[in-house]
Symmetry: D2
Subunit: 257 residues, 4 copies
């Protein structure tokens, strides 16, 4: 086997080292969880401004009430009540292509576009390509929040206040303008789109963006499980399903007998 190293963490009986820093003396009590998360992903400590932006992204994604993730986490906890990690992990499996995948899709568009000299042309091409393929533009549109998702404007303000509103946020807005023009109607920038832009501004690449959503949602699901331990909503969800989606013999059954 070719020689291979890990640069994440090592230990000896007296100490633990994380990316070259002594856990006990240099990290614990000196850095927040959010700073450490950035450190582990980007291999450098964030500035105070980057930390505020990352915190805003994490806080935005933590909780949205009933979602597939929270339904799954509660149903799983009900079956394995002493294994909280199973409830959380089962829920996190649904932080997937449909609900969060658009974040990395949007991030990749922005990364490509910012590398281009003529952004106006890029916006037109990208919007046109998605319209021709009848594919939704990642980072735009929301099933419930209409006409506008309330989170992106606040996220842009936070980036602005921290001196981190740069090319990626500008391009996202520019795509939005072009998208509205081409469609002849308004489509909101959504939270995952805005977060993709903010994460790029602080140096977190598309390939790992979904990890940020997963960490954030792990926190939200922990809150759901606290409530589930008291209310046992899982049993109600099960009963609702039994009542509202009842069994019926398959239409093919008669023929087969």
């Amino acid at each position: 086997m070719a020689e291979m190293k890990t640069h994440i963490a090592g230990w000896d009986p007296q100490s633990i080292t994380i990316r070259g820093r002594d856990l006990v003396n240099e990290l614990m009590g000196k850095h927040s969880f959010t700073e450490m998360l950035y450190f582990l992903i980007c291999d450098r400590m964030p500035t105070a401004e980057q930390t505020r932006v990352l915190d805003a992204c994490l806080v935005t994604l933590m909780e949205h009430g009933w979602t597939p993730t929270s339904l799954i986490a509660r149903l799983a906890l009900d079956s394995v009540p002493n294994q909280i990690q199973v409830g959380i992990a089962a829920g996190l499996l649904a932080v997937g292509d449909v609900f969060v995948g658009t974040m990395e899709g949007c991030g990749r568009l922005l990364l490509d576009g910012v590398a281009r000299s003529d952004r106006e042309t890029y916006c037109r091409e990208v919007v046109q390509a998605h319209r021709v393929a009848r594919k939704p533009m990642p980072g735009f549109g929301h099933p419930f929040h209409k006409p506008d998702d309330p989170r992106p404007p606040r996220l842009f303000t936070i980036a602005e206040e921290n001196g981190l509103s740069g090319d990626y946020i500008a391009l996202l807005k520019q795509i939005g303008t072009e998208l509205d023009r081409a469609a002849g109607k308004h489509l909101t920038i959504n939270a995952t789109g805005a977060i993709a832009a903010l994460l790029l501004e602080i140096g977190i690449p598309p390939d790992i963006m979904r990890g940020i959503a997963v960490v954030s949602r792990a926190g939200g699901l922990t809150g759901h499980l606290v409530e589930e331990q008291r209310t046992h909503a899982a049993r109600a969800i099960w009963q609702l399903t039994e009542e509202h989606i009842p069994y019926e013999d398959p239409p093919t059954h008669q023929k087969k007998k």
Copy 2:
């Protein structure tokens, strides 16, 4: 079905409400992820001191290099490379009884003990009961960090500095003294034991403690997957296993032919 409510989060087209607060105007940009995590678990915002203690606990548990969780996360990512959440969730399933379960076990002992009037008797009884049953005392001992786990003293200092070193930490130390006396040798308080005490000091009950470890480790695993995307250590782990644990016909095979 009996009427049931959720108190976690709701939304309307213009806003999202989390535990009675407006996400956009009261939470985003105003609270860190760690504060929000506490808020979702405890239904109140933490003080600055509580936040620092919770951050210290989260930072302590994030990363310990090669562990079953990080091995699993990397192996899973290798098989489903576009589904980062699958890698993280697979790894989190192993944040279980063996490695983190002792946190809640220790937390329950401390909760019981602090409710007792005579703590000295309690320590003797608890230590004696575990010795008779030949069960390890949760929160004590460590396979690698000997004679002492370096993290607990630092955690105790952080609690002290924030005015949050109370009965639970005191009792944990008292049990440690009694344990050493009864065994005639020194057994270290370990990180999960110390964290159990700190979490109790800030009002997080044993039943949900494992959730804190899961959130923290989700952050650590995100860092592992960043490295895995570059190094593909999973393939090396697989190859090492093939080479060092080779196949051999079962001993029963000869007889059966």
Copy 3:
């Protein structure tokens, strides 16, 4: 590292060997999945009678309509539609202590009891111990199937017809009689209890019984996902939950403002 081997499977460029048999020439086309499952667990091929009993157990557990496992599998598929394995695996996580754990609990009671010389005394002691501790007797009782679960009598008949109704099934019935006597009312033997007895009759120990349920349920969930791909019930389950378990500000909210 101490030398270690695996006795499960190996390969070379021309062949694959499973537990000493050549996959291509000795197993494929010659043995059913059920026989192979037994072979992998017990390290010997089953007799035709053992295969029929194992098939009956697998068929019994495959499907029970809406359960936490099927709800979770469908919700997860909805979020990660191209990753069928994620839907199935998420659902399988709920094949846990509450719904299937009783199988191994019952299996252990039967294993202990059959080793005892005086089974009548054993039945009295076991029933008494569970009554005193107010713990449900594993393998007995069913929330919906009252007064009797319809599956155990059929399972016992299948075992009988295959000459495999031995001490474990006899003891399970004997415990049932004693349980009814002590309680002064009838409590049904349930499917997991009966299956525990049948699996013991064919040599599958309690420690791995849950694996049988997992394999069986993996088949059932595959059927659910076929339907889900057409009907998108997950979206309906989500909507039902939104409507019937609405958000309300936490009662503590007023005080905190």
Copy 4:
């Protein structure tokens, strides 16, 4: 909510109905697990020939020794030893795009091709398209089994013997011939390619093929966990990784201090 039904399973206190059949009287003891699996997926019972082909596919995929799935399952069991379903489910998450996804990709190619009038042209186009895009042809090639995967010929024979070697198998072989011609060298049909063809022959569509692999592998992983309960290979795998992929400070560390 629009009215919705499920056609999979229902129950009343006295009976359980699965796709219109009475579980106790029509299914248990009368059908094998493999037949039931087909019934749940295809909504009709298989013929004896179809059952033999499905059994052959299931047996082929059960076990391949050390793979990411078996490594993960064992590592997870080590952390949550009493939750066998967690070990199996964690492993199954890796039955994903890299190792099994090619089955559905190959299945879709075959489905498209058989619908075409001119199969020779289709083969040329498909092979050409993959070569131009430098994408591997799904269902062809194997990292270890060279020059030929030993399983496909046996699978084709089994299909032939059961009168189920039709257009899909023929087309797969035809693509293989064209692929070799275009590449000027031989590339093996692999097991997932052959199984894709056999599953199409018995009426199982590409969208659910991965489910067959998941069920099969669930059986294989159960066997791994039986061995793991005895040998604790997970600990050895962990130790091997510690030794062979050691920690080293990140190269960036010096600059940052």
